[in-house]
Amino acid sequence: MTTLETLQNILIDEFEVTREQLVPEAELAALGVDSLDLLELMFKIEDRYKLSIRDDVPTDLSTIADVVVYIDELLARQAKARGVDPPDLHAAT
């Protein structure tokens, strides 16, 4: 499952949105996801990827694509810090 698909699944569970709405360029605000919702979303992302988001979540994440890029960068950075390859995001889970 790609980062985008994972994010889509979480948002579909938590917000009244459809997969069709969750295109990469979709604005979070237009989907009803505000800055506090985004923080709560990050808890679920942490669980899903066994990540630890201790940095402040950037405030300029405005689209779905922004969040995907942020998660992927975080995954790569944390994997590198542990000296392993980034997790295979396409592996079935």
Binding site: E14, F15, E16, L36, D37, L39, E40, F43, E46
Partner: protein, 423 residues
Amino acid sequence: MSERRVAITGLGAVAPNARSVDELFAQLVGGRSAIRRLEAPMFASLRSPIGAAVDFDGSAHFAAARLRMLDRVSQLALVAAAQAIADAHLDFATENRERCGVSLGTGMGGAESTDEGYHIIYAERSDRVKPYTVLNSMTNAAASWIGIDHALSGPNLTYSTACSSSAVALGEAARRIRSGDVDVMVAGGAEAPLTFGVLRAWEAMRTIATQDPTDPSASCRPFSRNRTGLVLGEGAAFVALEEWQHASARGARIHAELTGYGLATDVVHITRPTVAGQAAAMRLALNSAGLDPDAVDYINAHGTATLQNDSIETAAIKEVFGSRAYSLPVSSTKSMHGHLLGAAGALEFVIAVLSLVRGVVPPTMHLDAPDPACDLDYVSGCARSGVTLRAVMSNSFAFGGTNAVLIAETPHDHRRRPSTGLR
């Protein structure tokens, strides 16, 4: 300028055993207690795991994204307030919204969110406190959401005087209408205290009733010799208060008039009620309504079933009403819906108004053996119907000492002496 009067044009309640004011009154008149054993496993370690819960699932009323931002107390408040607004047929789109406001009483605010937040911090030792914790638990959240939902841009006020909170909220709202500041106030109370942390804290005070071994629903016994304390309940109740001419001009049905509001404070001890303080609040309410004690036809008592309250309240009623006290129906509906803390005043005022409108006095239940110090007509065991009520009083007293008393009258003028007004 003629005196501004306060019409009650809408009623709403989400209470133990009741999703509407009609259900509420039917349950009370039928003498049916909503007090139950709380069966969730986490309550098992309580000494007396009883409470009066509302059969209420927030997801039936709010979308998931919205629900995250609403503590249970706000959910209950929003639903009950919407009922009162609908009952009044108020259309705020046609109102000057700056002259419409919200006045809410709550003792503990978003207790569930507070409890959950502390559980995450201290029990789970996690730093993942939900981002909405502050906004969900803050005491004024419920009032704010009502204001936002209905776009009421006048005063938005939250009162917290423990168990008299929402009686104060109604009285203060009525004063604002009377003074000319506003025309419409959505006023009420909400409380959702049935969390483990809150129940444990109340239990530590030794004020919670012992569970009746054979019938948990009979655990709360106001005015009884064998009363053992109060039972916590949850819920919300609201009224739409409206300036009389404003209500008349739009052809609104006026349930009753809010004519009396009295406030007086016990200053002896943070938990100890006084006859003087309670009596003073009742007298001030009578004076503000311009009523003689003889004119009151029913008192919905504070009647918590704690050892202290019931005998003190009885003595205070006798002091104010003299010999009339013995022929005046006084009932404690807390015997059935429990003690809704900050929501109690509004709920019991709504019940008193329903009594007035329907000519039925709800009973005090489980009063088989009265305390010798409690010797009034408590309408024990069975509702009294077919009675003519012109003026009803609702008593709300509190830890902290803020005694608040409200009076409602049938919607016509039968004043006996000049009113001091809702000062």
